[in-house]
Symmetry: C2
Subunit: 627 residues, 2 copies
């Protein structure tokens, strides 16, 4: 079996603390949540994306350029990125399914067709963007604050990186890489000495990854240059001012995340990539500082980020309304990408804790159980009487969006999810996410048996090992203050076990996960007097579906602890508040009508809106304690 690579592979010369394993080192069992999501992605989401690219005209947009289609350009001006991200997902999926085996199935027809199409559509100088090549040639490179041209190039490059890492030597993969390098070379030529930047970051991480694949230094230099160009007001005011695209101050001096969330997170991901390759401690420190600022006051309990629909922005500190949470799916994915890069760069397990929170909540909630419905925004509350007619706040997951950035972004993440489970090198294996499966690295094989996150126990069996001692390290999540490993209490963080291992050796982690209430910092006004329910890494919610009483009238009984049900639900004691009518009143004695007590079942937040559309809450008001 030939090793293939996954996303984010720092060079040996980088300062990264942790090193990714080969992409075919990890196989996730389909019985686990993570492996199940990968299987669903392969069976449902990815084919759905391929179908939608035809249905929504994304492929036709490119065929207009090659003369193989007629009609108007359709969709957003950056519609090519949906093609590129789906292509990237298809390559990762090829690597996952075939696991790098020489007998892996041929690349699907889609990949071969798109590779051909991209090559044919590309301008002689390397430019490729069906919107600007079509009816907007005059505006090429002329409206960078808005155009997403480098952003689009970045997604093409990421598809090419996935291609040659997943299917090295395969003709379509090499074809896509050739197209991407020609575009990248054009970028180097056009912007290598320029003060300009793209309004939407993404190219930075793509160029750093392309450098990692090719060893061609100018790609990395351009990424570094674009990071340093930003923050000098080069993008103008735009519609929402320079903070929207993080052009108000240079990243190195910034202290807080701001503006459009996905732009900020993609920018920081690129900064980490460049920092570790160029040994730029200042830049890495800036990325860590901004990440901390987001986690301190601008992150939902689900890991979601972005409190405003108007400009898809972070909002002010502690401005975290559950009902108007924007928490874009792509922001959760961007947060995942950033946390992973910071984990590699620093080895700090807090970043892996965040990967886990995002994965089980902010990211998982975006996709319907059937894999073909998606949320773009991920609210933590849906009110009775909600007007679900807006695409930015629908009542249910939709099969596609007029701006369809999220579904193919999910497809590429899920197809490569196994790459984020563990890291290691010849001397160490670090476990980050717990899921049943196998991990094979440098002559050592581990089998993971667990029903995590529904059960506390994770059994790690060494089924194959080298003779020399090596270190197995495991993450103890910050939410788990009563963990033990083989019966010995351990504190949250990373537990390192350096031993001479023998085949058959086992390590048993116990990560007790009783249901717990979570409250927010008192400055989070929007959830004052309310609590969320969580168990392990999973945040829960109540939804109207399945309730006899009106969800809006329920209050948690703070004296009765939640209990685990047979399934994955939590049984919760609640009181039913008598209806009130006045919108405002002077405070009075509690209503005379006695409150009814009921027991209701909370479900994992990521499963909401799969039964029937209707009200949902993560944050439940707390009933006053009996006096």
């Amino acid at each position: 079996m030939t090793d293939i690579q996954g996303p984010v592979v720092p060079t040996p010369e980088s300062v990264s603390v942790f090193r990714p394993l080969p992409a075919n080192a990890v196989r996730l069992g389909a019985a686990g949540l993570l492996g199940g999501w990968q299987a669903r992605n392969a069976a449902a989401t990815l084919p759905h994306c391929v179908t939608q690219l035809d249905a929504y005209g994304n492929l036709a947009n490119l065929r207009r350029i090659t003369g193989d289609a007629e009609g108007d350009f359709r969709g957003m001006w950056f519609a090519d990125t949906d093609v590129h991200k789906t292509l990237e997902a298809a390559f990762w999926e090829h690597g996952r399914a075939g696991a790098g085996d020489a007998s892996s199935p041929a690349l699907p027809e889609f990949v071969a067709e798109v590779a051909e199409l991209l090559e044919k559509a590309q301008d002689p100088d390397g430019y490729l963007n069906s919107y600007y090549q079509g009816d907007h040639r005059d505006e090429q490179w002329a409206e960078l604050h808005f155009s997403h041209e480098m952003y689009t190039a970045g997604h093409l490059i990421q598809a090419a990186v996935a291609a040659v890492r997943s299917a090295p030597g395969d003709p379509p993969a090499e074809q896509v890489m050739t197209v991407a390098r020609r575009f990248a070379d054009l970028l180097v030529q056009r912007f290598g000495q320029s003060p300009e930047v793209d309004g939407h970051p993404e190219i930075e991480t793509a160029l750093a990854e392309l450098y990692r694949v090719t060893g061609h230094r100018p790609y990395l230099d351009l990424a570094a240059r674009l990071l340093d160009n930003r923050g000098r007001g080069v993008l103008g005011e735009g519609r929402f001012g320079p903070r929207y695209f993080q052009d108000h101050e240079p990243l190195r001096g910034a202290t807080e995340v701001t503006g459009h969330v996905v732009r900020q997170l993609y920018l920081l991901a690129g900064a980490v990539d460049v920092a570790v390759e160029t040994h730029d401690d200042e830049l890495l420190a800036a990325a860590e500082r901004l990440w901390e600022s987001a986690l301190a006051s601008r992150t939902y309990v689900t890991g979601g980020q972005g409190s405003r629909h108007r400009d898809e922005a972070f909002g002010d500190p502690y401005e975290l309304p559950p009902d108007r949470a924007y928490a874009e799916t792509c922001a959760a994915i961007g947060g995942f990408q950033l946390a992973w890069r910071l984990l590699l760069a620093t080895g700090d397990s807090k970043y892996a804790d965040e990967l886990e929170r995002l994965l089980y909540n902010g990211i998982a909630a975006s996709t319907a159980v059937d894999g073909i419905g998606f949320f773009y925004s991920n609210p933590l509350q849906l009110r009775a009487g909600h007007d679900g007619s807006h695409e930015d706040a629908p009542t249910q997951r939709l099969p596609w969006y007029s701006c369809a950035c999220c579904p193919p972004n999910l497809a590429r993440l899920m197809a490569s999810l196994h790459s984020y489970v563990a890291t290691g090198d010849a001397d160490e294996v670090q476990l980050h996410l717990y899921a049943p499966g196998t991990i094979h690295a440098a002559g050592r094989t581990l089998r993971i048996d667990t029903a995590y996150p529904w059960d506390a126990r994770v059994t790690i069996t060494v089924t194959e090992t080298t003779a020399e001692p090596w270190e197995l390290s495991v993450r103890i999540p910050a939410w788990c203050t009563t963990a033990d490993v083989d019966g010995e209490p351990v504190a949250p963080g990373r537990l390192r076990l350096r031993r001479t291992w023998r085949a058959g050796d086992q390590v048993v982690l116990t990560l007790p996960m009783p249901p717990r209430l979570v409250t927010a910092h008192p400055r989070v006004d929007a959830v004052r007097g309310a609590a969320a329910l969580a168990r392990g890494p999973v945040v829960y919610c109540l939804e109207q579906a399945g309730l006899d009483d009106d969800l809006e009238d329920l209050e948690l009984d703070p004296a009765a602890p939640p209990r685990i049900t047979d399934g994955h639900g939590l049984l919760v004691s609640a009181r039913v508040r008598p209806p009130e009518h006045q919108l405002y009143r002077t405070p009075a004695a509690p209503p005379a009508v006695p409150e009814k007590s009921v027991t209701v079942t909370a479900i994992p937040y990521f499963l909401w809106a799969n039964r029937a559309p209707g009200p949902m809450r993560v944050w439940i008001p707390l009933a006053a304690r009996e006096e």
Copy 2:
């Protein structure tokens, strides 16, 4: 003294219950709040608006059409409306200052100039819109969902109505009316048989008022037609869907306010105007029903409406975040216009209560004490660390806006404010708003002496009367449950005093207004566990300016009632919460560090951000009661 008329004058044939007094019947003393606001408007706001029309190119836009200016069109495509609204304000101010006296000063130069300019810019067929007449002639009447062409015509018509009511016979007034009627005649011709509507309502109320002035029935018929055309999907999807412009269902069948707030309120104002003139009970009932729906779950404690910045919309029921309150100034003005029309139509004093709440809070807060700074949105909270770089949520009032609809809207309301204080006819005088001044109607004169809303006492002295008995009625505000009139307890609502009056008779209202706490319906999640402070009709706030401790750490002591200070402030007992660091945690015992107790001064909300920019809150968290 010749009687002149103010805004909203239903015809004698209308079904209105209350009848407006002539515009020169009421004079407000400058020592009172209302009279002071009128004086400030005349001295500062209105001249400021006139200056800004020059500075921002609004007048130049029209002069481009007449060939008297060059350069590009500037501002919003409906920038003419700023001219029309300022012109309307100037005419009301003329009527107020001159009080209809033959010796009143000549109309200011501005009015004469603009009247000339409008006449000269008007197309031969009556069309007048400097945006479409200039560079967008091809799109004239072609994009009604977006163009604001009828909206713009409506504001021209309202200026003309103000002109002939305030300065009857005056040449510039007649000139503006001639222009407006020619445009209105064009509208009748163009749209009298059409299924179309304008994306932004306003023309409906303008046409009804023009009918009232002219007696020309086709204007009223067109207004009625436009109301009935709406709600049938004629505007298409637009950017935010048909609910945005209330085109999703006919108004007659609607049960809830929805979409863009100003559009909804202007539409309802037009509906009431048409309903009372056409004796259309169904239409009036629809307007009342929608008003009730807004008050029941979509209105801030300040009377402000609109919870969303994205589409300036009402939002879902009980979605009332104080920090992201949009509560546009024009929405408060629209709410005032609607409540006034409903008060005239029905005589129900709940509408006058709402006029009062809006006036002292949602409307008054929009203007700086110097009269030349304005809020467009009126949040009920500004956070520490607020990013004030967005024009839609600035830290301080701004002198003007890229969309400057609010300042001239304030100018026209304030210039006519005295018209909303009382109503009456030969047999009755109804008082609605309490302010020092005089009311003269049909041979009767009342003098009002009061320091309201800072003092409970309102003394009404009959200084002149007719011999026949007539009825004086006074509004007892709903917030006042301990009112008395001449020592006799009275319930909220309307108290009617039918007597044979003699000069020198007095009626003394006592409306006790101790400071009170206000809490919100439990479904208003955003302010759970918090209370607002109010006194009489005035809502209070705390702001960082003047505080030693961090506003964000203060909690109201619920056991210590607020006290009145020497000035207009309230002394409030609060506890200072020790700082916390974690964004989320499992609930624990209260912090061990003892809380500090402090006394702070709350100020009227309408005065916030006049000392220094900084955090502000209307809703203050309530400290837990000592157990």
